[in-house]
Symmetry: C2
Subunit: 372 residues, 2 copies
């Protein structure tokens, strides 16, 4: 590991430690910062943005008890591969848009995350996928929701952005658009994993035990069992030209019904990027929509002129905690600063900077222990 990646690694760890403090407290150190990431250059003393990529693979009840060492190793490998794919794009002078696309695609194709292959099942036993992408420089954005046969929903969201006058397409209409653009449609069975199917069975059983459908329960009730309430994937990147992008892809909530759409494909809620700030979220989507989380973080950066880490920390660890909304975000600003606060037990996450050294983290405690 190069010296340059140390501060970020420490930051990931510090973040983990600080977030053990009471959740309602907006700790100023409770997020990752990559302030010292950039190698200094003798003949170019002018500061320039530190390019890099941050990813998440979902936040939720992730503990040693429900993550086997084998699975943890596979998750870490997938996160690392995703970071490497995004880094390769950025290192070659590619765009932030291409970097987040490459990074998310790896996670969509992995069965370990709730996006693409391995997505959770709806109440009716199908997979309905949502995704969104946004280009911070142009503010162009694309989103799809409720698609059932698109192998890589984020790629379709990008096509919506680049090849249509629209931002958002849903359901069969979105699939018709995919077909018209030659996108590979897969048999819905492609998304099946035994794990997720069993997750649905457990959720249905729980629901039957309660003798009432999830949809008749009050807002805020979460029909998803703890061990499956994570997995949404996302990426934010800053490229060598200083452009930001954000992307998010998800299968939503286990046992979701009635064409429910969460925050991932909602521009401003689960996904947002402007010239100064990019955010991708994961968590209990309804809360992220009501609090316009992704846009709110960027609005605080712009209008309150607070550092990114502070804006992200207040929204996740103060506003959302008070509201009862569980989850986290990854965020980057135009100076290459990184934040990845979460108020849940764990969040699959990682970062890679110019040095190309991927840094991956899952738990709080484990990282803190490892830092000693």
């Amino acid at each position: 590991m190069s010296a340059a990646s140390v501060p970020l690694r420490r930051a990931l760890v510090v973040g983990a430690v600080m977030l053990l403090s009471p959740m309602g407290c907006a700790s100023s150190a409770g997020v990752a910062r990559a302030d010292s990431e950039q190698p200094t250059s003798r003949d170019a003393p002018a500061p320039r943005p530190k390019w890099g990529l941050v990813i998440h693979g979902g936040a939720g009840v992730i503990s040693r008890e429900n993550l086997s060492p084998e699975r943890e190793a596979e998750v870490r490998a997938a996160l690392t591969q995703s970071l490497q794919a995004g880094h390769a794009v950025l290192a070659g002078g590619g765009s932030a848009l291409d970097a987040v696309s490459a990074a998310v695609r790896i996670l969509e194709d992995s069965p370990h995350f709730n996006a693409g292959k391995g997505a959770v099942f709806t109440h009716d036993g199908v997979n309905e996928l949502d995704a969104a992408i946004m280009d911070g420089t142009t503010r162009k954005a694309g989103a799809v929701a409720g698609v059932r046969r698109v192998r890589n929903p984020l790629s379709l969201a990008r096509l919506v952005m680049e090849q249509s006058p629209h931002v958002m397409m849903v359901g069969e209409g979105a699939e018709a658009f995919a077909k018209s653009r030659g996108v590979e449609l897969v048999d819905p069975k492609y998304f099946y994993t035994e794990d997720r199917w069993q997750g649905l069975q457990r959720a249905l059983e729980k629901e039957r035990a309660r003798q009432q459908p999830a949809s008749s329960l009050p807002a805020g009730y979460d029909p998803v069992s703890g061990d499956h309430k994570f997995g949404t994937v996302g990426a934010v990147a800053l490229d060598q030209k200083g452009a930001l992008a954000a992307a998010t892809s998800t299968g939503g909530m286990t046992n979701k019904r009635y064409g429910r759409v969460g925050d991932a494909p909602i521009i401003g809620a689960g996904t947002f990027a402007d010239a100064r700030c990019a955010v991708s979220a994961t968590g209990h989507g309804e809360f992220f929509i009501r609090y316009a989380v992704a846009h709110d973080i960027c609005a605080r950066v712009e209008y309150q002129n607070v550092p990114l880490w502070q804006a992200a920390d207040v929204v996740i660890n103060d506003v959302l905690v008070k509201a009862g909304g569980e989850g986290g975000v990854i965020a980057m600003d135009r100076d290459g600063n990184v934040a990845m606060p979460f108020n849940s037990a764990g969040m699959y996450r990682g970062y890679v900077g110019e040095d190309g050294e991927p840094v991956v983290a899952i738990f709080r405690e484990a990282e803190a222990a490892g830092a000693k």
Copy 2:
């Protein structure tokens, strides 16, 4: 007309006049304010919020040339009726949520607006309806998109908010939810109006003339002919208890394809309310999504501590104009201040305060002339 409604009427007029200035200019007087609405009370000198209701029936190319006197009279009558319905709720001590629901329902049921009865047609000749509602006090929200058989989509959005754990439902799933809650589903023919059907035929003809489908055109291209690019309806209200709510309902864009969803059902884009600020938007939805217009206005009010009129004016007449996004918003804050800026030729709009005197406006010039 009572004296109390004069300042608002003048404000509507002033707004109209000022908005004639170059669109890129963020005029500080270019919006309506209702600062003097509240009758003073001798034995209760403490200031209290001025309750009231603001509505819109869409923004766009509205001119004397394409609006016959007969139609104008009908539009004004419907807007007035909507204001009266909302006022009755508020005057009786009802909630802002109930007031915006009542006001929007009248406009959904009127064939003159692009929502409910009278919605525009999709490329495939059907009506796909979107709506959202948000309670500023609790931040609870409900939204539906792409429903085809729900007579009053806003009522369904409210049911999503109140009787499900979710915020957003789309397509057939949303209709299945409607059915499960006993919502009246209508024959899709209910939404038909000859005007809108002819609007689709003109759009299709134009598209054929161009020899390319609208969806292959670059982002920003607007497939809707000028005279049909308006009609989304919405309302914001402040009730006697000081609670704010926002609601929006629409048929979207004529000739839309592929399950396109605009800004109306996107919380933070076309619809948003918090404890301090409520916004409903109308216009070229893709821009309102990319700029998270409704949330951005409220974020400026909160984080920049600027007056509502200024926040709304900057977003509509500066940010959106520079981006090329046509449309407008209605907004209220917790002190009862009102803003209704638009950067298009006209916007169907209206306001009613405690005195119950509805004030309705459509054009810029006409209002200005009438004020002399």
